[in-house]
């Protein structure tokens, strides 16, 4: 019985989406059917809790759709990796959907696209078949194109179009990879790829196979946004509606990262790990530098998403079992605090109608709950104990012990602190200037509840970081973890102080006039679609060349 639960994880948001579609068509039912649609997210939560038991014991749950056995039909597969990406999607989607219910303006049509995106993400996480992963990616993509441009602003439409062109080019290379796999291995289901490859002597034996791996990784890489493919993310996240930026940064780029990790592990592409580690480290550093120079609050957060994703990629590149757990725990923690940051800053933007960091009046007194939640998120991302950022960054330091790329990540961490000191000023308790009520309405009670809940979650996953890490290790590897370093040891706690001091110093440096002139030049580096596509092709060639 438990394996048919897998279908309900995917079907529930789908039915919820159809319900909200009917809500859109039948005007009077708009609100109730939107609530029904969002309520459908409760089913995946329950199903995932029930399915946790087999995953913990190391067994992967398989469900053959339509009863057809694996190589001929499609199977839904739930193992440690897909359980985590489903859990992550559910938490963020539930938070964002509840937050969106708070705003009267989002009608049932909005929830139709949001729930279809969630169903697509479940499809990507659960599928055991390469071509179904392509279809699920397209379901997510089509819904995201509409949602990015939902408010019809010119910048939203331009950002959506730019993302569409880039990700469709990427997905075409993904299809090229699927073709190579079908041609040489004759099979489409992911789990049989590793067997087929062993039979033919590993991924490096035939040139077609590692080019297939390169095109598959590049096709998905466009959706995760590390260095060569990150150029779409700042516009898409900055100009999308606030809850959509939260779910994009929180869940979508990570589900794509997990899918890429699954394919790399299945292909046995260990030769890529070195490249990914360096790409991750460089992404983290470059993105945080451009984040530090931003004046638009949402672009600043968008660049931070890229930088934190660089962390996850770098630690995955380190390759050990502990490193994989560190990458996943950072992904979970990042999903929590980044969506929290996007929701709180989004509320500030819609309340004051201003996007520029320096023009938003201090809202500390005006939105007390939001400010408290914002500072919980800001402290988490800066890696300050006892919040969850500190726990997962401690794991990352342990996972990347002795790897040459770690200094880059260390520099990134204190630059992150600097940029959040800079961003923190909009939520300081300051005098309540009159310009505040120019924007949209006050955030409702439901929205405050969601934001505070996310803040508490950030704190909770931080305090219980040790048990979280052990649990994630068991989910991922099925066996009890041999050695999880003590996260809250004295040495680590003290290690935060120099980083905080350097962060403050960096903030001082940026606010000097040389700093602001430099920032203005970095800000102007918005690459156009042409250079974006150029970056994409260079990334493709890098992934292909690394095997020679």
């Amino acid at each position: 019985m438990t394996d048919s639960l897998l279908v309900w994880v995917l079907l529930a948001p789908l039915m919820g989406a159809v319900a909200s579609l009917f809500g859109k068509l039948i005007r009077p039912l708009d609100r109730p059917l939107s609530w029904l649609g969002v309520a459908s997210l409760a089913v995946p939560i329950a199903a995932l809790v029930l399915l946790l038991e087999p995953v913990i014991s190391g067994k992967s749950v398989r469900y053959a759709l339509g009863g057809w056995p694996e190589p001929y039909g499609i199977a839904l597969v739930l193992d440690g990796l897909s359980w985590i990406s489903c859990a992550l999607t559910t938490v963020i989607a539930a938070a964002v959907a509840l937050f969106s219910l708070g705003r009267r303006r989002y009608g049932a049509g909005y929830f139709f696209f949001l729930l279809m995106m969630v169903a697509g993400m479940y499809g990507v996480a659960l599928t055991g078949d390469l071509f179904t992963m392509f279809v699920s990616f397209e379901v997510v993509a089509v819904a995201v194109y509409v949602l990015i441009a939902w408010e019809g602003t010119a910048t939203g439409l331009a950002a959506s179009y730019k993302y569409l062109v880039l990700s469709t080019t990427g997905i075409l290379f993904f299809l090229f990879g699927v073709f190579l796999v079908y041609r040489d291995l004759g099979v489409l289901s992911i789990s049989l790829i590793s067997e087929g490859l062993e039979a033919s002597g590993g991924v490096l034996s035939s040139p077609a196979m590692h080019l297939a791996l390169a095109s598959l990784c590049v096709g998905i890489g466009v959706r995760t946004a590390f260095i060569p493919f990150h150029t779409w993310l700042p516009e898409a996240h900055a100009y999308a509606p606030h809850p959509i930026s939260a779910v994009l940064s929180g869940a979508m780029i990570k589900v794509s990262l997990f899918a890429m990790i699954r394919i790399i592990l299945q292909f046995g592409g260990d030769y890529l790990l070195e490249l990914l580690m360096w790409i991750g480290a460089v992404t983290a550093l470059a993105a945080v530098i451009s984040a530090l120079s931003q004046s638009d609050v949402k672009r600043l957060l968008a660049y931070h998403s890229i930088s934190q994703l660089g962390y996850m990629l770098a630690v995955f590149g380190a390759g050990s079992a502990l490193a994989l757990t560190a990458s996943f725990s950072h992904a979970l923690n990042h999903a929590l605090f980044k969506s929290l940051l996007f929701l709180t800053v989004g509320a500030a933007v819609s309340l004051t109608g201003q996007r520029n960091l320096y023009r938003i009046p201090p809202l500390g007194r005006r939105l007390p709950a939001f400010s408290a939640a914002f500072f919980a998120g800001a402290l988490s991302i800066s890696g300050i104990p006892p919040f969850n950022g500190f726990a997962s960054k401690g794991l990352i330091t342990a996972g990347m012990k002795g790897s040459p790329a770690y200094p880059l990540l260390w520099v990134t961490s204190f630059l992150t602190i600097a940029s959040f000191i800079k961003l923190g000023r909009i939520f300081l308790p300051g005098e309540d200037r009159d310009g505040v009520t120019a924007g949209g309405g006050n955030p409702g009670a439901l929205q405050t509840a969601v934001v505070v809940a996310l803040g508490v979650l950030c704190l909770g996953t931080g305090v219980f970081g040790q048990t979280m890490a052990r649990g994630l290790y068991r989910i991922l590897h099925g066996t009890a973890p041999a050695s999880i370093p003590r996260l809250f040891s004295g040495g680590k706690l003290l290690g935060v102080l120099p980083a905080a001091a350097l962060g403050a110093a960096a903030y001082m440096a940026v606010s000097t006039d040389i700093g602001s002139r430099l920032s203005r030049r970095v800000r102007a580096l918005a690459p156009e679609l042409r250079t974006v596509l150029l970056f994409f092709f260079v990334g493709l060639l890098a992934f292909a060349a690394v095997a020679y």
């Binding site: 499609i74 279809v135 819904a143 004759g186 099979v187 080019l211 095109s215 509606p241 924007g439 042409r530």
Partner: protein, 103 residues
Amino acid sequence: MRGGRVTAVLEVVVLVLVALFLLQALQGDHPESSEVRGHLVENGSRETGALNLVTAIYLGYRAFDTLGETIVLLVAVTGVIYFAVPAGKGDDEEDHDTRSDLP
């Protein structure tokens, strides 16, 4: 356009390299028959009852792909209708999103 020359040359070089990438992947011998295809062709129609084997596959064996595809179509049609707003209504004031809700 600043650096137009440079980006143009770069793009040509990159596209030529991509062409090499594609040809390198495509040439070389590749096994003709795949075990999966053999099975599907032999008892495709017996198991699903459809004589047209393509329909047997995309509605029988891989019906989930088709469901995903109908979802993509449904989302795209609803998206196009959402965006096909007549001119003049809903052009943006950059920051205050006062767009009225659409039918």
